[in-house]
């Protein structure tokens, strides 16, 4: 599975995901990359924006509506760094809807606008966040101000 989250110069956020599914899957099986609320989520309410793209064990991501569940909780968060792991465990690792058969592997890539100071309308800041429960996750990121893109495999 591959995915992307993006913010453009108009402040719009978009998330996308694409996947070939699990190896030797049953013909006709549809995974999280095609499911509303599971593979990707994007929501811009005034200046409060979030976009998430997920990957991992499709059936578990689908049953937990992972992208939507994370966005719902993280949109209320004032600090992604402190809240991300707890929210990820709540929505996925400790979810009743996930079991060892459907698998507990997931990877999350997201972007969220950080709350503005009151009356500060000069600019909106964004945070990129990643979390995953598998061995590794491959990511890349770049802003229009960067000369080069950054890429790494998180382990």
């Amino acid at each position: 599975t591959v995915g992307a989250v993006c913010v453009d110069c108009y402040g719009n956020v978009v998330a996308g995901v694409s996947s070939g599914g699990i190896l030797i899957k049953q013909p006709g099986r549809v995974g999280q990359a095609a499911m509303y609320g599971a593979g990707c989520w994007a929501d811009k309410k005034n200046d409060d924006c979030i976009a998430i793209s997920t990957t991992g064990s499709g059936e578990s991501l689908t049953k937990t509506l992972l992208a939507y569940s994370l966005a719902l909780k993280l949109q209320k968060s004032h600090s992604i760094i402190t809240d991300l792991d707890e929210v990820f465990n709540d929505c996925f690792m400790n979810s009743r809807f996930v079991n060892d058969v459907t698998g507990r592997f997931a990877g999350v890539l997201g972007v969220k606008s950080t709350p503005l100071e009151k009356n500060d309308t000069t600019d909106t800041e964004f945070e990129i966040f990643v979390t995953f429960s598998s061995d590794s996750m491959s990511i890349g990121y770049q802003t229009t101000a960067d000369e080069e893109a950054s890429a790494e495999i998180l382990r």
Binding site: G21, P27, M35, A42, Y141
Partner: protein
């Protein structure tokens, strides 16, 4: 800045040997998106460009080089969501479409066309299977032959795992099937005959 992009090439197991391949592809996808953003294109276009780049490389499990189904086909899923319009476009279990993310994006475009000229139709959020492939042709997206999205790597993996899986399945069924059906399970026949009844008997979870 005029925006930014972040992409992922999956979570699971990335061998150290291929790390630099993944990183080079990730940077390439980011570059494609950033050029679009610098020229004032929208986040939607940038996401489609980035994911198209990732789909075209056989190292990723999307588009070209996807995992194969038990029957040896490529069936892809993809979706895209816009935070401003909250529109969502998705395709599921689609074969023969070179870039699934472009087809998902076409659904967003179609939704906006229908909304803007109120044709009274309800645009779908999601299309699956043959209908999705037909829609791809209608929208002039690239449709390819069934073999073109199958990479050598994936073909080898498919053979390896289906052989192992079928052996396991045969053992399981011999123990659990009533005697009258035992003789029907013959793993060699699975690949030679197209008897859909027989397919049904073994393709269960």
């Amino acid at each position: 800045s005029r925006g930014f992009i972040a992409i992922h090439c999956g979570a699971g197991y990335h061998s150290k040997k291929k790390s630099e391949n993944y990183n080079a592809l990730a940077r390439k996808a980011c570059r494609a998106a950033i050029e679009a953003l610098r020229s004032g294109k929208s986040a939607r276009e940038a996401v489609v460009l980035a994911i198209t780049c990732l789909e075209d490389d056989t190292i990723t499990n999307a588009g070209n080089g996807s995992n194969l189904t038990f029957a040896g086909d490529v069936e892809c899923d993809a979706s895209i969501m816009c935070g401003r319009t909250l529109n969502f476009g998705a395709i599921g279990a689609v074969s023969h479409v070179k870039n699934p993310i472009k087809l998902a994006h076409e659904l967003l475009v179609y939704q906006e066309e229908v909304e803007s000229n109120l044709m009274g139709r309800i645009p779908p959020n999601m299309l699956c299977g043959k209908g999705a492939k037909k829609f791809a042709k209608e929208r002039n997206l690239e449709v390819v032959g069934s073999q073109e999205l199958i990479s050598d790597d994936m073909f080898r993996q498919h053979c390896k795992y289906t052989k192992a899986y079928t052996k396991e399945l045969k053992k399981f069924q011999e123990n659990s099937l009533p005697p009258s059906k035992k003789q029907r399970v013959d793993s060699e026949n699975i690949f030679k005959t197209n008897d859909s009844n027989q397919d049904k008997s073994i393709l269960h979870d």
